[in-house]
Symmetry: C2
Subunit: 193 residues, 2 copies
DNA sequence: CTAAGCCATTGATCAAAATCAAGGAATCTT
DNA sequence: AAGATTCCTTGATTTTGATCAATGGCTTAG
């Protein structure tokens, strides 16, 4: 159940067997069925969730009632409403499962204790957030500087798995487009080469 | 010269006088005149820059040759091409001064030594990146979920100083709009209330 | 002080994406 | 297996922002 989590942790910060056991006591496994919520807007985000298996998405609902996806999380990714998690303020994002999923949850209390007691955990978190920040910066840059077709090609190149596993209309939402527009973009990019 | 930097550092992670002195030995002050570069695309980013005074921007040049601003940094902000800084790969961003500026630079070597020797530095960096990540996430969410006028109102509400100090055409670039469009948006939002 | 640039605005036209609408394929459910 | 959804595509129309063009106000440098 914890294989992928510790595999990734060790890649970033190598752990001794004991450290690993210590950390394990702070983790909670959780299964989620497709379409089930991990978090709803307005609730306080109680966990950081690491995806061992399956796929989740986070999103907001715009004033027209449309879902706007802000992030996907497949195996090996971490998802949360970090602001809500850290401050205890109500969440601005929804998070739910796109596919049946197995998660590893870190609660606020666990997070704080781990930061205090296991120095390598702080390093892990630092590296994790740094990676997320850089990924986000790239995404933002491509949104404001690239034409839509290039953005789609970029997405395929960067996250081929997402494009394969996730329905098109969710990709469209993630890109800030309507499904119709994405369909036409695909026609141009993929279709008639 | 280091006032603001340590003020902010202490707000996040309180330091003893000795710790502060130790950290100070790793910092390099630098002045930049308006329009001078801190970093050019293609060069390796050698520093994290903390802005004590003045204003900088980071940006990319799109294929039409237009500047697309990815970030502003006023007093108290930190700016860098983090990916390039951490990996040693060529930078994808340009960084230059919008106004005459006073910076505090942290070199790669200094950064690594500080991480090794001053635990509070790692905490500071973690909190710093976390804040930057959350800010970026909000910006991205507002781009894909809000109509353009709301985004402008948001920007005014969140960063009033930026809107006041920075020329409109740079704000437009930052928002991914043409100056003409922003001008019309302003007419609607600010103008005839 | 004056000329040269730069900047914000406004108007007219053009291009691109959203919207509205409908159909057909694939998947899930019962 | 049948029915019901969900999903993707395609077409016609509308809306929105980009582009092209011109002007006047400011700032800046000589």
């Amino acid at each position: 159940m914890y294989e992928l989590f510790f595999q990734q942790f060790n890649e970033k910060v190598p752990l001794t067997a004991e450290e690993q056991e210590t950390i394990k006591t702070y983790l909670t496994p959780k299964k989620l069925r497709k379409k089930q919520y991990l978090l709803q807007e307005g609730d306080v985000c109680k966990y950081i969730a690491f995806v061992e298996k399956g796929a989740l998405k986070s999103y907001v609902i715009d004033e027209a009632g449309t879902e706007r996806i802000t992030q996907f999380a497949l195996e090996g990714w971490t998802i949360s409403d970090l602001y809500s998690f850290l401050t205890g303020e109500p969440a601005t994002y929804h998070i739910d499962a796109i596919e049946d999923a197995e998660l590893i949850l870190i609660s606020k209390a666990a997070h704080e204790e781990l930061l205090q007691t296991v120095p390598k955990y702080e390093t892990y978190i630092r590296l994790q957030i740094t990676g997320a920040y850089i990924a986000l910066q790239r995404r933002l840059t491509s949104i404001i500087s690239l034409p839509i077709e290039e953005r789609y090609k970029n997405l395929i190149a960067t996250y081929p798995t997402i494009v394969q596993r996730v329905p098109q209309h969710m990709i469209a939402s993630y890109m800030g487009l309507t499904p119709e527009t994405l369909s036409r973009v695909r026609g141009r990019v993929t279709g008639r080469k």
